[in-house]
Symmetry: C2
Amino acid sequence: MQVVVPFADESPKSRLAPALEREERRRLARAMLADVCSTLRAVGREPTILATKPLSASTLDALDGPDVNVIVDDRALTPAVNAVLESVDETVAVVMADLALATPAALETLFETPGEVVVAPGRGGGTNALVVRHPEFRTDYHGASILDHRRKAREIGASLETVDSFRLATDVDEPADLVEGWLHGGGHTRAALEAFGFDLETTGGRVRLVR
Amino acid sequence: MQVVVPFADESPKSRLAPALEREERRRLARAMLADVCSTLRAVGREPTILATKPLSASTLDALDGPDVNVIVDDRALTPAVNAVLESVDETVAVVMADLALATPAALETLFETPGEVVVAPGRGGGTNALVVRHPEFRTDYHGASILDHRRKAREIGASLETVDSFRLATDVDEPADLVEGWLHGGGHTRAALEAFGFDLETTGGRVRLVR
C-alpha cells in the first residue's frame, strides 16, 4: 500500500487566517504533518508526501525523522492525487496532512477496512482519508467530495465502505477546529498551539481556544 | 442497561437561532430526538427521555412510535443526569438527543465497548454519549466535559474507554452543524431540513446549508 499525504508547503491553512498569522499557520501545518507522519510510521506505513513544491528546510526539520519520500506536483489536489492513482499499481491510501487527531488505532481501522474504496468523511462533506483498491477510481475533492466519491464508486461498480471516526473526520481548517487539536491532537500539534499562547476558554456551548 | 436521552422540550437549540426560527428549532429538535429514539430501538434499546417538563403533544406525535418512558426533572443537565445515576442500579447510558447522525452500528459500538466509564467525545470538548458501569461516577457537563469526565473516572479508579465515532461526535448545535444532519443524518432530521427549504452550498472550503 502506498500512503500519500498531500501537503501545500507555501501558504497552507489560509482559512485559519482569522486566528493565526501566516508564519504560525505554516508552523501549525508542519506540526500537524509531523503528527500524521509519525502516526503512520507507528502503524508501519511509510508516508509519501505529495507536495506542491520541494519541501522547505523548515518542513524537513519539523518532520524530525528519517528521510521522507516526496512527490512534487504543482497542480491542484484532485489532479495531483489522480496522477498518483493512475501511476501506482498497488493500493493507494490518501491521508490529509491536517488530521492532527489521527491515532494509530484510527489509521489501522482505515487501512484494514475491506472495500475497493474506503472513505473517512470529514466535516462539511469532505473526504479526509481514502483507500483505493480499484484501478478505475478517481477523486474529486471539490465541494461535497464525500457524495461525489460515493457516486463515483457506484458508477464504476466498486464496493464502498465508510469508516466512522471522529479522529479522521476532524481536520483542522477553521479557527473553531483549533480546540480539537488542543484537546485530542498529537504532540507536535499541541506543542505548536501552546507555543502560540492559546488556552481553553469555556463558553455557554463548546469550549474554544483563545489567546 | 437504562438508556437516558436528555431533552429540553421548551426552547431547545438556542444556538441555532442565527439559522432557524424558534418553531423550526423545536421541530428540528423533535426530528433529531425521533431519529435517536428509532436508532436506539433498532439496536434493541428502549430509550427513557429525561425531559425538563412533560413532553408536549407535538413531541409525542413526532416520536411516532410506541409509548416512550419519560422522567421529568426540571433541573439543569448535570444534576438531572446525576439523579438518574444515583437512583439506578444497573448500567446507565446517556445519549444526547441531537445525535442526528447516530447509526445502529455506532450505538452498538458504544454499548458494547467494555469499561466502567465509556465516553464518546463531541465537538468542542463535549461528551455526546456516555456509558456508566461504576456506582460512584457522576457527570459534569459544563465546559470541556470530556476532560472532566476523564478526570473523574481517574479519581474514583474507574476504567475509562473512549469510542472514536464521527457519528457520535457530531451533535447539531450550531448553524455550521446543519450540513452534517443533511449529509449524514437520519430520515426525520433530513426531512425537517428539507422542509425548511435548505440546500447544499459549495464554498471554497466545507460545504454548508443555505436557504
